[in-house]
Amino acid sequence: MDSRDGDGSTEDYETLIQTTDVELLKRAWRQEKAAPEILKFETDLITRLTGQIELVEENVEQDSQSGIDPLTVSLYQMDLDRTQFLLRSYLRIRLQKIEKYIFHILATAELYNRLSKQEKEFAKSCLVDLEKHLEESVLSKLPNNYQSIFKQSMISEENDMVAKPQLDTFVVCKTNDYLGHIQLEDNEDGSSDDRANQRPLEEPFEMETDVLYFVRYKAIKGFVEEGRIDLF
C-alpha cells in the first residue's frame, strides 16, 4: 500500500518504492515461494501490513460512500486486493511447508523458532493430528521396537524416518552486492580441514550484482537467511 501522499518528484522515488512495505512483502513472498525450507517469519512487516490494510479498507469504504470518483476508488481497491493476495499467499505457502515437513520442523529448534506464534500453534495441532493418524493406522500395530514415528527401529541412532526439505535443489537468484568465495562443493561430510585429501574443488564461486544465477540452495542458504541474496 503506497502511502497516499507520497510525492514522486525526486530521483529517490525508485528507492522509496523499493522499500515500501508492499515491496518488502512481495520480496518476502518471493523468497518464501522459492526457498525449499521455511524461512523466518516477517513478524514486524506482517504486523505493519495488517494495520495498513485495515486503514485502506476503511478509506475505500468511506470514499465509495462520499461520492469520490469511482475510478479512483477502484484503483485503491485494486491495490488493496493485490496486497491482500500477497499476504494470503505468503501465509499459505508457509502453512503448506509446515504441513509437509512438520516432523522435521518440530524436531529442529532453529526451524521451529522461525515460525510465528500462530504458526507454532498450528504446527503443534498439525503434529498431533498426523501422529494420531499414523499411530492408529500403522505404528500401534507394529512390534514394540518398531513403533517410533521418528526412527525406523530402536537401533537407529538418529531420526531416519523424517521427511526433510531438499536443500540441494537448484534456485534462481540474484545478489545486491558483490559476493566472492562461495563454496559450491559440499564439504560438510568428510574432513573439511584436511585440504590434501579433498578432491580438487571447483573455483570458488563469485556472484556479481544484478546477474541471475542458477545454483544449489544449500550453497547460498546463509546469504538468503541474511537477506543478501534474492530468490526468484
Binding site: T50, Q77, F85, R92, E121, L130, K132
Partner: protein, 199 residues
C-alpha cells in the same frame, strides 16, 4: 518374497496420476502389517535360539544372526513402505483441501480409510483455528487478482434482489452476463451460482 506386498503399496502411489487418490488398499495394507508381525516372530525365535546356545547376540555372527538381520531389515522396509503410503496419501489430501476447501467431496471420501477421514476433519479444524487466529480467510484469493472487475455468467436464477456494493441492484436471471466487481462476484462464484468468463 519378503517386502513384495509392501512395494506394491508404494507402487500404487507412484503410478497413480499426480494428485489423484486411489481407494485405500486396506486388504493389502493389513497383509503387510501381518507380514511385519510374522517377521518379528521369526526374529524373536532366532534370537532365542542363539541365547539358548549360550551365544552373545551382539557379537556372534552365525547363520542365525544373519537370519535375524534379514527379518529385521524386511520389517523396517515394510514399515517404511506403510508409512510412505499413508504419508503420501495424507499429503495428497491436504493439497486437495487447499484446492476445494475443507469440505471433501463424497466420491473422494469413499476412497479413504476411517483414520484418514478422522485426520482430515481434525486437520481442517486446525487450519480453521489458525485462520481465525490471524483473522484472515486463506481459502479465498487463490489466484492473483488481475482486475477489480470481472465478467460473469449467471448459472442459477438469482432474481433481482441481490444488492451490490455500490447500492445498485442487478437483475441476475439465468444465463445473463454481467460485468461485476470481483469482490461482489467472488462469493457467488464459489457457491457455484455464477461462473467467471475468461477471454
Amino acid at each position: 518374497m519378503y517386502g513384495k506386498k509392501a512395494s506394491e503399496l508404494v507402487k500404487e502411489i507412484a503410478s497413480s496420476e499426480k494428485g489423484q487418490l486411489t481407494p485405500f488398499s486396506s486388504d493389502l495394507f493389513d497383509e503387510v502389517i501381518e507380514e511385519c508381525k510374522q517377521h518379528y516372530h521369526e526374529l524373536e525365535c532366532l534370537i532365542r535360539r542363539m541365547e539358548d546356545q549360550g551365544l552373545n547376540v551382539e557379537t556372534a555372527k552365525n547363520e542365525d544372526h544373519y537370519g535375524a538381520l534379514i527379518h529385521h531389515l524386511s520389517l523396517v522396509r515394510n514399515k517404511r513402505c506403510l508409512m510412505a503410503y499413508l504419508y503420501n496419501r495424507a499429503e495428497i489430501l491436504r493439497t486437495l483441501m487447499w484446492k476445494v476447501g475443507s469440505v471433501i467431496p463424497e466420491e473422494i471420501k469413499e476412497k479413504l480409510s476411517y483414520s484418514e477421514k478422522e485426520y482430515i476433519t481434525k486437520h481442517s479444524s486446525s487450519l480453521k483455528k489458525y485462520m481465525s487466529s490471524v483473522e484472515l480467510d486463506l481459502e479465498v484469493d487463490m489466484v492473483p487478482p488481475k482486475d477489480p472487475y470481472i465478467k460473469v455468467r449467471v448459472l442459477d436464477d438469482l432474481g433481482g434482489d441481490i444488492l451490490l456494493s455500490d447500492d445498485k441492484k442487478a437483475n441476475f436471471t439465468r444465463h445473463s452476463m454481467h460485468f461485476l466487481k470481483r469482490t461482489d462476484a467472488e462469493q457467488l462464484i464459489s457457491q457455484g451460482k455464477m461462473e467467471e468468463l475468461k477471454d
